[in-house]
């Protein structure tokens, strides 16, 4: 049966090629898949990112609602009194944000007895900002982004004024997020050999009475 043999040989070749291709494709695609998943962020990071984005979008939705209400109030202001009320409300909000007025609200008090330096304190302030603090005081001084915390001659200066421990941080803002941050911060600090004690307490009604004096612009111009 020469014709049958002639047919069998190419069939065998074909099956071998098919198997090799099959194996090669599975191998290449599996590796590519693993590579792609390794190159992208891991699931935990993505889950955290999703949490942050949800929170940010919720915050932005609230901000948008408040701004739309202010815009409507201003655009429908038939009298100077209504316009002035809207302007006063915005001025008060911005004075709080810039630390120009005393504030009260829910939050946490973190107390640390340790020889912390300017970097430690800046980190602590950053942690509270990230946890949604709307107003912060450190060692009795009001802190906003832009407040200078630096070391000079062995002491810590806040906006040029010398401060010392034991350190008390007061943060007003979202009580639940701030309590979580306070817990994490103090646990981390207690693991530090320099720290004699670190604790926090949540409080539904805290007051920060220290304020910042606004510095007028010297170089900057607003349009």
């Amino acid at each position: 049966m020469p014709a049958e043999r002639r047919l069998r040989t190419p069939l065998v070749v074909g099956v071998v090629i098919l198997l090799i291709t099959l194996l090669a494709v599975i191998q290449v695609r599996s590796q590519a898949e693993v590579q792609r998943s390794l190159l992208s962020q891991d699931n935990t990071s993505l889950a955290f990112l999703i949490d942050d984005l949800h929170r940010s979008n919720d915050d932005l939705a609230k901000q948008e609602k408040a701004l739309a209400s202010r815009r409507d109030m201003l655009s429908g202001a038939g009298s100077a009194a209504v316009a002035n009320a809207a302007l006063s409300a915005e001025a008060q909000n911005l004075r709080i944000v810039q630390g120009l007025d005393p504030v009260r609200g829910p939050g946490v008090v973190v107390t640390v007895d340790a020889p912390l330096n300017d970097v430690d304190l800046q980190d602590a302030v950053n942690n509270l900002h990230v946890a949604g603090a709307e107003a912060i005081s450190l060692a009795g001084r009001r802190i906003v982004t832009g407040t200078v915390i630096e070391a000079s001659g062995g002491e810590v200066l806040i906006d040029g004024v010398g401060v010392r421990g034991p350190w008390t941080l007061v943060a007003i803002g979202d009580p639940s997020r701030l309590a979580t941050a306070g817990d994490e911060m103090t646990r981390t600090l207690r693991a530090d050999a320099r720290v004699r004690s670190a604790s926090y307490r949540a409080d539904p009604d805290l007051t920060i009475s220290s304020v910042i004096r606004q510095r007028p612009f010297v170089y900057a111009l607003a349009p």
């Binding site: 098919l18 699931n43 901000q63 302007l87 709080i96 007003i172 900057a220 607003a222």
Partner: protein, 242 residues
């Protein structure tokens, strides 16, 4: 009839058919036996959610910026209603400028930061990468130098700004992730800022990594820098005047 076919023409045809079937079966098998492993599928689903939330976030920011701009115009109009309104509107305009809610311009310095070179030999070192703490250090230093307004890669820093890291990216106020190189622009006293930047004690860690890993760190002045307005609202939700 088959016997008439030259063998040379049959082999490539069979090989081609086998190749095609091979791809088909491989795809089929992979779909059945190793469905994009659960981890990969989850990863893709999460990434899709992130992209969708980022799109929403950008839309919120765009609407917030538009609202801020409308409010600014309405406040200018309101100032015409009475002397008291004018005084209040001026006060609000100044507060908005100091809060980063309006565009700002003036002389200033721009600090540039970029990743360095990965150490040879595959050592697990990340010191050649610039991170959010480096950006935070530069921002703090610029404020120390008296900066009156700062923007990082076009994102304006406000009194409530939060700078955090997300992998190798930097996220400011929950905005879109920023990746190196970073450009930190500050309006203020150029001479004071330049002196501070050049001081050996300033940005010590970054300067050390610049020597060790060629991390990119530089700065240049400009006669008139323009900083954009922040695209967030600054409406305290928990803190009230006390």
């Amino acid at each position: 009839m088959l016997a008439a076919w030259p063998r040379l023409r049959l082999y490539p045809l069979v090989a081609l058919l086998a190749l095609a079937f091979g791809f088909f079966f491989a795809a089929q098998l992979r779909a059945e036996l190793i469905p994009p492993s659960n981890r990969v599928a989850r990863n893709e689903a999460l990434a899709l959610t992130v992209r969708s939330l980022e799109t929403d976030n950008a839309a919120y920011r765009s609407r917030t910026a538009a609202l801020q701009s409308q409010i600014g115009r309405l406040e200018t109009d309101a100032a015409l209603r009475s002397g008291a309104s004018r005084q209040l509107a001026d006060q609000v305009a100044e507060l908005r400028a100091h809060s980063g809610l309006t565009r700002l311009h003036g002389p200033g310095e721009t600090v540039t930061l970029g990743n360095g070179q990965s150490p040879k030999g595959g050592a697990a070192v990340s010191a050649y990468l610039v991170n959010f703490q480096d950006v935070q250090d530069v921002v703090n230093l610029l404020f120390r130098g008296g900066a009156e307004g700062i923007a990082v890669n076009g994102r304006r820093i406000t009194p409530e700004s939060r700078i955090v890291g997300a992998g190798t990216a930097v996220v400011i106020d929950d905005g879109p992730p920023l990746v190196p190189p970073f450009s930190v622009a500050a309006v203020g006293n150029r001479a004071a800022i330049e002196t501070l930047l050049a001081a050996p004690a300033s940005l010590g860690d970054l300067k050390q990594r610049q020597r060790d890993y060629q991390v990119q760190l530089g700065w240049f002045g400009a006669g008139d820098l323009v900083l954009p307005a922040a695209d967030t609202g600054l409406e305290p939700q928990y803190a009230h005047a006390g």
